[in-house]
Subunit: 352 residues, 2 copies
């Protein structure tokens, strides 16, 4: 059996630590691992299957003799280093937004569109966390009844903004409980000028604003969804729009998804059944028993949890659902490792 | 000038304390006040305009010689005591859901439909907190361009569930920060069987579930909106649907409102202008300067804050906006006292 040298780029981050454990639990035959990070983190000691691995500084040369790169070190690092890795023969699964809309880069959710992996030229992109769980939940519905329109409001956990933002929010929570002033230096996004507290607050800004008044996060949900479902062909077939809000939750994005199907014979009970029968989706939908998805219940799980499925009785073919998933696993590390597993199974760990 | 004896029913609660301060700051000529509460709270000492007022147990006889009742002591208490108050000649503004859908009870947002006050038979209802801020923000848009459809996702603060739920959520936050187990005995609603932590979590249940899978809170937003805008006539003219979610915020509901106007010539910049020119609405909408509504900024304010106004470019006449207001003030005490002021100004403080 072929075995692979796997590099994890950004190994010391919140997603990086989960990439390591997901890789440990995966079916990928690992010959050796390399844990790469910034110069600042080089020298740190991590574990892989109980063996100590010393974190190395990521440079173009780090990728010599590497077969597979799992990357989650930020868009700038990906843009700079992944082409260098590909040059050296490594196939890269990238968890940043750097290459997602590149027409030469497949944007993959296994279970939805992994057949597009065959087109890869060395880099495969992992969609945005908020996109993955929404599209995963909608896909069986799309396949059976078609989709006309998606309107989503997100409730996104702070861990999606990185470990330092996560720490800041917990610190702010303690400040509030101690009746001290809340200090904000990172959130809503380190990339923008102003910073606001998130603890016990809501921030309707994730990533920076585009000129049209949408945030880049909202833009991602719209355009990534179309790319995944239509592979850039005929992307006007489904209308997609979004409002993305950061909420004071540690792990687990919530999404209130309102969607309209083409085939108006769809009913809520059959949508529930379709979700229940789809691998990777878990139906939690018993209102009378107060069973519905919650971030605290989804945290640490690989699945996407769906509940509150119900018809909009005034609008034929329109439904609501409430989707929750662990943004660091389902929305990031698990999807990345699932892609890598698909590449291995299809013998696509080679730069064409 | 006519002066009024005003009773505050539920004076010791989270909304009650705000009813007191709103009444102090109002234009209502107050001859005397009575602070009423449950037997348990009787004897407590509160202030009105720096004068000590001893809380009395609310009984039918408490309303003898009272002109005006501002009520926020829960639906059961309202159902039992307000008819007794009306019998004794008092006009009641009720902040609970007890009478809202009663066809003999006007459901009022001053600035929207206070002309319906003239029909009152002794009881006037204050809409649900989440309904008030949404309808207040939509009303100028409705007047100028008409409305076809409203799809709202709410992000509701814990204080809307009462002081004990609020305390529980803060306690849970401290438990999390101390790495202890989170204890839940009240949330999502004391009226239901199961209880879940809200701190660092999301609960897609506010109030109990109806048979159709919607919560009663969602039902309220749908039916109260139609009653306010159409006074029970032709309520199918606007489609309204909602998903209501409790979030770990202390004060200030957020709402992602998606709406479709009848007149497709509407543009986002004119909607912004219309909002800016409406008394009681504050436009906070400069994305490039990161200006948008936030609960922490709205807390303690009487206004409704609107931002993130933008067109859905794939759906003509469709727009998003993000609406935030203090649920205890704008969504409760301020609206109640505004109704009382309207009653005084129109000389309607009399049971017909």
């Amino acid at each position: 059996m072929k075995k692979y040298v796997v590099a994890i780029l950004g190994a010391t981050g919140a997603v990086g630590s989960r990439l390591i454990s997901e890789l440990e639990q995966s079916s990928i035959p690992v010959k050796d691992v390399k844990f790469l990070a910034s110069k600042r983190s080089a020298g740190k000691k991590l574990k892989f299957n109980d063996q100590e691995v010393i974190v190395e500084e990521a440079t173009p040369e780090s990728f010599e003799n590497v077969d597979l790169v799992l990357s989650s070190a930020g868009g700038t690092v990906s843009k700079q280093l992944l082409p260098e890795a590909v040059k050296r023969g490594a196939v890269c699964v990238d968890n940043t937004s750097a290459f997602r809309m590149d027409e030469n880069v497949p944007l993959i959710i296994p279970g939805v569109n992994e057949q597009q992996l065959i087109q890869h030229k060395g880099i495969i992109a992992n969609p945005n966390c908020s996109t993955i769980q929404m599209v995963a939940a909608l896909f069986p519905i799309y396949q059976r009844w078609g989709l006309e329109q998606i309107i989503v409001s997100t409730y996104q956990a702070v861990s999606g903004a990185g470990q330092s933002a996560w720490n800041e929010m917990l610190q702010q929570a303690q400040e509030r409980l101690d009746n001290e002033e809340l200090v904000a230096n990172i959130l809503p996004t380190a990339a923008d000028k102003k910073h606001y507290p998130l603890a016990f607050n809501l921030l309707p800004q994730i990533d920076v604003f585009e000129d049209d008044g949408y945030t880049h996060e909202e833009w991602k949900m719209i355009h990534e969804t179309k790319k995944i479902l239509f592979n850039d062909q005929d992307s006007s077939r489904i209308k997609v729009t979004a409002t993305c809000v950061r909420v004071p939750v540690e792990i687990g994005h919530g999404e209130a998804v309102y969607f309209t199907v083409e085939d108006k014979s769809a009913v809520a009970s059959e949508i529930q059944l379709e979700i229940e029968q789809t691998p990777g989706l878990v139906l939690q939908d018993k209102p009378q028993e107060q069973i519905y998805p919650q971030p605290l219940l989804a945290s640490g799980k690989r699945d996407t949890f769906v509940g509150r499925v119900r018809a909009d009785n005034e609008n034929p073919g329109a439904f609501h659902m409430w989707v929750v998933a662990d943004n660091l696993l389902r929305g990031a590390a698990s999807n990345t490792v699932d892609i890598a597993e698909c590449l291995v199974k299809r013998d696509l760990v080679r730069v064409p």
